[in-house]
């Protein structure tokens, strides 16, 4: 019942309005609509991306949360090895000492630490190794002559590169 009078009231008004003005207003409104829609879509996308990144970051934080501690403990492990080597030189070493060492290593392994296996003659790979110096040897030049400190990975990340001495040609051998 109330619809009809409204229609009657509205139509003359519409006709009276300047069509040019109306189309300008429409264009402005459409522009604004597009701008708002774009802003809203962008904000929504930003939020979703942020959420995804935060989740990934959180997982990383959990995965690599112990990185600093593990890194510090590696140097304890290094020193343990230096101590063992020194003890071995002066005679047989109590088996328990080796067990303690493997206990520490096991704990770190469970947290994602893995020692990188490197042997003499391996090609030098700067992604996992750090060259400390060179020494003349029979191995091909530029390959690993000796590993002086082991390298470790924590999950996929190289936590510490292996420190290696590279082989160089013996003098007068070519």
């Amino acid at each position: 019942m109330s619809d009809e009078p409204q229609n009657i009231m509205n139509e003359p008004e519409l006709e009276a309005a300047d069509p040019k003005l109306l189309s300008e207003q429409l264009a402005a409104a459409e522009r604004q609509r597009d701008e708002y829609l774009a802003g809203w879509q962008r904000a929504k996308a930003d939020f979703l991306n942020y959420k995804k990144e935060e989740m990934a970051r959180l997982q990383d934080a959990i995965k690599y949360g112990s990185e600093d501690l593990v890194k510090d403990l590696i140097s304890v492990l290094d020193n343990f090895d230096l101590a063992l080597r020194s003890l071995e030189r002066s005679g047989p070493v109590e088996k328990g000492i080796y067990l303690i060492r493997s206990q520490i290593e096991d704990i770190l392994k469970k947290r994602g630490l893995a020692r990188m296996e490197i042997k003499p003659g391996d090609p030098f790979d700067p992604a996992t190794m750090e060259a400390m110096t060179e020494t003349p040897s029979d191995l091909p030049p530029g390959t690993v002559a000796e590993e002086i400190e082991p390298g470790y990975r924590l999950h996929e990340k190289v936590l510490r590169a292996s420190r290696v001495i590279l082989s160089k040609q013996k003098e007068g051998s070519d």
Binding site: Y50, F124, P126, G142, R163
Partner: protein, 631 residues
């Protein structure tokens, strides 16, 4: 449009940042580090290496490992600086056919631009991997003293790396941008940048959206590396004195010592003393030798005091000398001081700067990353990110509803960005309660009465039922204009009431401050009050549970148990309305212990005395009244 990245192309290290959500964010490289060594190399197998990988082979391949190329870029071979650097840089340097500089890497000669381009290309590739999209444009920073030729060469390096360089930005300006100082009018800013290998001092003046470099100074061959070297030399000397062993010839020992020296330096920024502990560093005829030495902050400071004094002297000269040598200002003219570079973490250095200017320098942003962050801010301005930030309001104070005992239960905590909505389900406090009053308050005080009332309304027509059973869903919804809609709906009948509150966010600053101060001033007493109310509420619940259990057990209950529980109920009722929360809790606990006997008694009867331990009372599944269920 792809993102524009900000690059701090440093002499020793570089960093990349990008604007994200209106904030600059450092992008990690492929190796998972936030900075990348500015080093490129041709490995012995002919491979091109950049960054950390190039650094790892630098010792055995010094001739083909190019570092500090920023010292050469855009310069003439005849430049005295080049002559000076040529003397100590281990790689070959020669004049190019046009009088510029060329460096040899592998068996080819390269311009410094090409080496910088190799570094930029890695930064670009790593940034793309992090962002998951192509990067085509960048803002690159250079020292404020770089001339046109050095700036053009840096720009060319970017283009060679496939980057459209939108702006070459001064490093100190970038630092000021990172601290948001571009908005301040007529400020005089000093940027004290103590990097790994260079010390730069810049005096800036911020005008109408412009940052003008008034003077630059410093020492291109003074940096944090000198500090490390000093500490290392000291340690080697001390060890020689103590043990008679020179470890400077042992590559591994020296490397371990170098790392320990750096670590000690970092630790002494926060600790007063540190111990350098390197077991089995060496050995002699008597067996293995260890390195154990304490290093105090005072000792470290005495080792490097000359460097710090020199930097302060240079700063003073740059600020006060008349133009063109300096800015011609008084020290007291300087409004802000910004610290850049990792070495500025050293407390003695901060103190020296503070003493010179008589004010606290800015050091809130990681000094290794502040320039890259500022470059990202500039990139954001160029991209339109910063200008077009949609400003969203936050709720200045918490919005809560009053729950049983007059407690204000927060629905929307303060500082929540609006628009936002929150729904929580509440229940009734008494049996057969047919209406609830929703009282909406604003403020930080724990008791509703102490906060500002925004509105109240009543939702009635709730069917009579035991307390805790009806589910009343209360929804708060604030739109971007701060208009708050609150509705309460009985989930059982679907009956709903709501209220609209205009302008819940536009309190005056003074009002907000006053309300916050009041909350802080009354924090301790409010906490006590709240504790008391909570104890009373819990006492009510306990009484309800106990009385219900007694009723349910009815005749089955032995007389002694009944008398015992009744006595405890009376005890609790006596203290319940008093002001002693501890007494209420004590009475509650003894009642709770007593009512367990009801269950035991009931079970003993039903099971003929077996399994008394399993006798949990039927009231255990009773929903806790007034505990809102999170939706």
């Amino acid at each position: 449009m792809s993102k524009i990245i900000g690059i701090d192309l440093g002499t020793t290290n570089s960093a990349v940042a990008v604007m994200e959500g209106g904030e600059p964010k450092i992008l990690e490289n492929a190796e998972g580090n936030r900075t990348t060594p500015s080093i490129a190399a041709a490995s012995k197998t002919g491979e091109r290496l950049v960054g950390l990988l190039a650094k790892r082979q630098s010792v055995t391949n010094p001739k083909n490992t190019i570092f500090s190329v920023k010292r050469l870029i855009g310069r003439k071979f005849s430049d005295p600086e080049v002559t000076r650097d040529k003397a100590w840089l281990p790689y070959d340097i020669q004049a190019s056919p046009t009088g510029g500089v060329e460096v040899k890497m592998g068996d080819k000669w390269y311009s410094p631009e090409e080496i910088s381009a190799a570094i930029l290309a890695k930064l670009k590739a790593d940034a793309e991997a992090r962002l998951g999209e192509k990067v085509e444009e960048a803002v690159i920073t250079v020292p404020a003293y770089f001339d046109d030729s050095e700036r053009q060469a840096t720009k060319n390096a970017g283009e060679i790396a496939g980057l459209k360089v939108r702006r070459i930005l001064n490093e100190p300006t970038a630092a000021a941008l990172a601290y948001g100082m571009n908005k301040q009018k007529n400020e005089k800013i000093v940027v004290y940048d103590f990097g790994g290998g260079t010390f730069d001092i810049s005096v800036l003046e911020v005008g109408d959206d412009t940052v003008e470099v008034k003077a630059t100074g410093g020492d291109t061959h003074l940096g944090g590396d000198d500090f490390d070297k000093k500490i290392q030399e000291y340690l080697v000397d001390e060890y020689r004195k103590q043990e008679g062993i020179d470890i400077s010839k042992d590559a591994l020992a020296l490397q371990r010592l170098k790392e320990a020296a750096e670590k000690a330096k970092h630790e002494l920024s926060t600790a007063m003393e540190t111990e350098i502990n390197l077991p089995y560093i060496s050995s002699d005829a008597n067996g293995p030798k260890h390195f154990v030495m304490k290093l105090s902050r005072a000792k470290l400071e005495s080792l490097v005091q000359d460097y710090i004094d020199r930097s302060v002297q240079l700063t003073k000269e740059t600020v006060t000398s008349p133009a063109p040598k300096g800015a011609g200002y008084q020290i007291s003219d300087i409004n802000e001081v910004i610290l850049v570079g990792g070495q500025t973490r050293m407390p003695a250095m901060v103190d020296a700067v503070r003493k010179l200017f008589g004010k606290d320098p800015h050091q809130g942003i990681n000094p290794d990353e502040v320039v890259a962050q500022g470059a990202a801010v500039q990139a954001g301005i160029l991209q339109g990110d910063v200008k077009d930030i949609l400003l969203l309001d936050v709720t200045p104070l918490s919005l809560s509803i009053e729950t049983y005992g007059g407690v204000a239960t927060p629905m929307i905590p303060k500082n929540t960005t609006v628009p936002t909505a929150k729904t929580q389900t509440f229940s009734t406090a008494a049996d057969n309660q047919t209406s609830v009053e929703v009282h909406i308050v604003q403020g930080e005080r724990p008791m509703a009465a102490d906060n500002k009332t925004l509105a109240r309304f009543i939702l009635d027509g709730i069917p009579p039922s035991p307390r805790g059973l009806p589910q009343i869903e209360v929804a708060f919804d604030i739109d971007a204009n701060g208009i708050l809609n609150v509705s309460a709906k009985d989930k059982g009948t679907g009956k709903m009431q709501s209220v609209k509150i205009q302008a819940s966010t536009n309190l005056s600053k003074e009002d907000i401050e006053k309300m916050k101060q009041e909350a802080a001033a009354h924090a301790a007493e409010d906490e006590k009050k709240k504790e008391l109310i909570e104890a009373r509420n819990q006492a009510e619940s306990s009484l309800y549970i106990a009385e219900k259990a007694m009723k349910d057990a009815g005749e089955k209950l032995p007389a002694d148990v009944k008398t015992g529980v009744d006595a405890k109920i009376e005890d609790l009722k006596k203290v319940k309305d008093g002001d002693d929360a501890t007494a209420i809790r004590a009475a509650m606990e003894s009642l709770s212990a007593e009512i367990q006997k009801i269950g035991q008694a009931v079970y003993n009867k039903e099971n003929g005395g077996q399994n008394p331990d399993d006798g949990a009372g039927p009231e255990q599944t009773e929903p806790e009244p007034h505990q809102p269920d999170q939706n």
